[in-house]
Structure formats: C-alpha cells, structure tokens
Point group: C2
C-alpha cells in the first residue's frame, strides 16, 4: 500500500508501517532527495550522501532507494535507457527532459484530467500506473542558443 505514505506524517512512520527501520543510511538518502529535487541518479545520490555517511556503499544506496520506493516515499523515473532517477514528488505528474542540458523537471497533471482523455484506452483494460515523459528544450537552453546565433549573425533579428 504505497499510498499509505500520504496519510502519515513522517517518513519514519511510513517505513515502520512496512515493518522496516529508518536507519542512518536511509535517512541520509531520503534527505538528499528531499534537499535538492533535481532527480538525481543513484550515483549522484551516492556522492552526495558520502558527505554525511562517508563509507556508505553504492549497493546500499541502491538498497535504500529501493526501500524508499517500495514504501512509496519516492518515485523512480526512467527515461530511454539512461540511468534511473529518483523523485520525492508524490503528486501525479509527468517529467520533462531537456535535450541540451539534461535538466529534469516536473509537469503537474491538470485538474480533473486523466491520461485516458488523450489516448484511447479500451475500457476492459485496467490501468494501475502511467508514466509520461516529454523531451525538448528548456527555456534556459533556448535562450542560450538564440544568443549564440545572434552573435554569429548580428543582422538577423
């Protein structure tokens, strides 16, 4: 019951609710994710977390991330054979991946909308999850590119 998480108050309670313990390693991993919501990879979490728990192993980071995911405290985000990324935003949302800078950001689901409004899902199919990814260029990168092309070609507006 992953949704349990939303009705309880602390991540500790949620983890205990699954019969598991909130260890130093798990807390450190969770704190990294909550701290900067950059959708880091396991390796990125690993290097960050080493600041707090200097001899944590990568395998333990993977274990912690799996535990947190199983408890519903974080979501795992996969995109086109790249390394998995982790996201503490529990609301229903899609992801945007910038092709030039690699930045990942959250796109909230609009109120009273469902994916089924856009794709034809036969009604005898039961949907339990959906995963939606957009790719393109983020505003920062678009701006940067414009500046560059102006520099090359100053006359063109």
């Amino acid at each position: 019951m992953a949704t349990l998480a939303q009705h309880q108050h602390s991540p500790d309670d949620t983890i205990h609710g699954h019969g598991l313990r909130m260890t130093g390693q798990r807390r450190a991993v969770y704190d990294v994710l909550m701290g900067e919501r950059n959708h880091p990879t396991a390796v990125e979490v690993f290097t960050k977390v080493r600041g707090q728990v200097p001899n944590i192993s990568l395998a333990t980071v993977y274990n912690c991330l799996e535990t947190l995911t199983d408890c519903g405290l974080v979501k795992i985000v996969t995109h086109e054979r790249g390394p998995s990324r982790y996201c503490p935003n529990l609301k229903d949302h899609a992801h945007f991946f910038c092709d030039s800078c690699g930045e990942v950001s959250d796109l909230p689901l609009r109120a009273r909308k469902r994916p089924q409004d856009v794709w034809e899902v036969p009604e005898n199919i039961t949907i339990s999850h959906h995963q939606v990814a957009f790719r393109g260029e983020c505003p920062k990168c678009a701006k940067k590119k414009n500046l560059k092309s102006e520099a090359r070609n100053p006359k063109s507006k």
Copy 2:
C-alpha cells in the same frame, strides 16, 4: 528528417534517402517487425531473423534496428529498465504493458488531443517528443484471474 518516411513509399527509398543501403539483413529485420507487431526485443528479433539469415549476429541486429530507427521506419520503445522493444507503428500512440503476461499494445492518440491538454507544460518549453506508457492488466489476464478465483470459491458470483 525522420518524417520523410511517411511521404515515401518503400522502406528502400527511405533508407536510400539517408544515403544508406537496403541490405538483406536490414530487410529481414524490418520484415520481422512488420510481420508480427508484438514489440519484440532485439534478442527476439535476432532469434526470428535467424530463420531467414542464419548467421546474422546480434550486433548486426542491433545495428539494423538502430539504422531503421534513425531512418524513422520504426520506433524504439523503452519501459522501466526492461530491454528496448521495437515498433513499426509510425502513428502517434502510447503503449500499454500488461503486468501479468507482459504483452505490449498500442493505444492511439485521440483525434485533436495533445498530451499538453492533460499536463501543465510551461509555454516557453519546446516539446519535440513525448513517450507515454500505461501499466495494468490486459482483458485476457483479468478474465483468467476471475476464472481462477471462481474455481477457488464457487459460491461467490
């Protein structure tokens, strides 16, 4: 220019349009994909294609799949760290993955609908691609499960 494919008639023309050749291996791989539209993995294509080209190598199958993808003749489908799958349906569509039998099927985009209708995409973001996956249970598996629970518990309707 991947969209070229839709305006030309034969896959050969499309491949030639990219300065490449339609070889026996590429045709065999393409034919397997067009034949059974089951979203096979590279390994599945490999074993199928061996019937036509007995000593093709797995690396060549990967190369052919990449070439066909680059030319816009097929789409690559990734899902949650599983092996990539390949799909010759060039229309805009999402995918449904059955959690019990692993079947993959296409869900067409509804007419005059866009993913942006459902998720809030800041309008200064440029979207070039989207990838949408649904998970759940297909009708066949749902039926199977019902039969089983009836057998266990014949009174319950």
